[in-house]
Symmetry: none
Subunit: 126 residues, 4 copies
DNA sequence: GTGGTCTAGACCACG
DNA sequence: GTGGTCTAGACCACG
């Protein structure tokens, strides 16, 4: 839960965003749960508060969280109806590019299906 | 083939590398085929030659191409036996992160399998 | 009537002020009507009494209400003659900024006129 | 063209975003035009580069501009077909709230229509 | 030279 | 106490 790798080329704020999403999809965080405050999270992860703030803002934009003034930031009940097809096609493009890379590394189609199943076993959307 | 998007956030050299790999996997380029020279490719794609040069260097490192001094750069016969597990686990990590994003966008497991199949129908490794 | 959204970025006290104004313009509250006391309103809306207090103070400053010591806060008969041109030009500036945003979102001039008419159909100033 | 008011309560980055949009809608900036670099704009407006950077990023998210790596930020040809109804309904909500305020200040429906027409005379979307 | 990320530290409005 | 804005200044990848 929320492992940050400071040596990764992936920006810290993106790691935080992704980490929260993972925690939600794994049921570690559930709707209504309060996230640590910007300052607390910053202290815990040894990251600058501005960076956490950026991550939280993105989470709110992506409707993962809601912010209640003076109270904090909370996990939102996900809307499982709406599909942002524009976002989805971006993800799909990246997905297919990764498959190209994987295929070049001699990863088989069966393995790729296996990766999808592995993930699905851990992540829940209901 | 080899569509470059100068406004993409994906670096140009990565787009070139990926584009060549796609062309190979789709059979558009086959082992032994000669790539355009760095200058020719740069002229054709309206890209700085340094960028093409960087892409070609990476393609050679990843054993997609071989360069014969004074002759040019050629598509290599792929080694379908060796698996670089270190590289593969990196790809797998990115793959799973994309699945997290997709799941959050209400993409179903079935759709993800569909994406894998779509790609596999186009890409060949034999 | 007086819908408060705690997750909105609009400050709670502003929401209260605006809500009262709407109720007056829609005839839900009429001159002479007594508002709930600060404590009652706070209890009803589940809001901190300080926030209600701030809203009431603003309503009084803007001459929407009058407070009679020991009696309570009452809706005032609006003065339909006086125009605070300074306030009006502020509103106009914001109005035009919104039109810029709307135009950028491909909202047509006709639609904007429609929005004005919609509002006018609900709000009364006589 | 891009007047910044440092004493305004409207955040500087929002003023920059709005100012650029106005310039585009007024034809002062046209598709293909290059914006000043982040550093140049910061120097000209006496604002911190980070603040300009934030404004430019928002402009790109809202598809007002495109960024070409190493080249700069350019005005995009607007898409006059797509309508983001979610954004539009947010704007409409704010619009109606302003009308409430205006009505309370004894601004007539005719004046409001006049404001719309004034804006439309200056802003173009074709 | 270009924008993107990050840290450090300050100040502010809201509740 | 909460998140939001802003400045100052550094470093980085890309081209």
């Amino acid at each position: 839960m929320l492992q940050i790798d400071k040596t990764s080329s992936k920006p810290l704020f993106e790691q935080v965003v992704l980490g929260i999403k993972e925690d939600v999809l794994q049921g570690i965080l559930i709707p209504g749960d309060k996230l640590l405050s910007v300052r607390e999270m910053a202290a815990q992860l040894l990251i600058n508060p501005n960076t956490i703030s950026k991550a939280y803002k993105i989470l709110e934009e992506e409707e993962v969280t809601v912010t209640v003034r003076g109270k904090g930031t909370f996990i939102k009940t996900p809307d499982t109806e709406v599909r942002n097809e524009k976002q989805i096609s971006k993800i799909k493009k990246n997905f297919i590019e990764l498959i190209v890379e994987a295929t070049y590394l001699n990863v088989t189609q069966e393995e790729l299906h296996g990766w999808v199943d592995e993930s699905a076993a851990v992540l829940r959307r209901d």
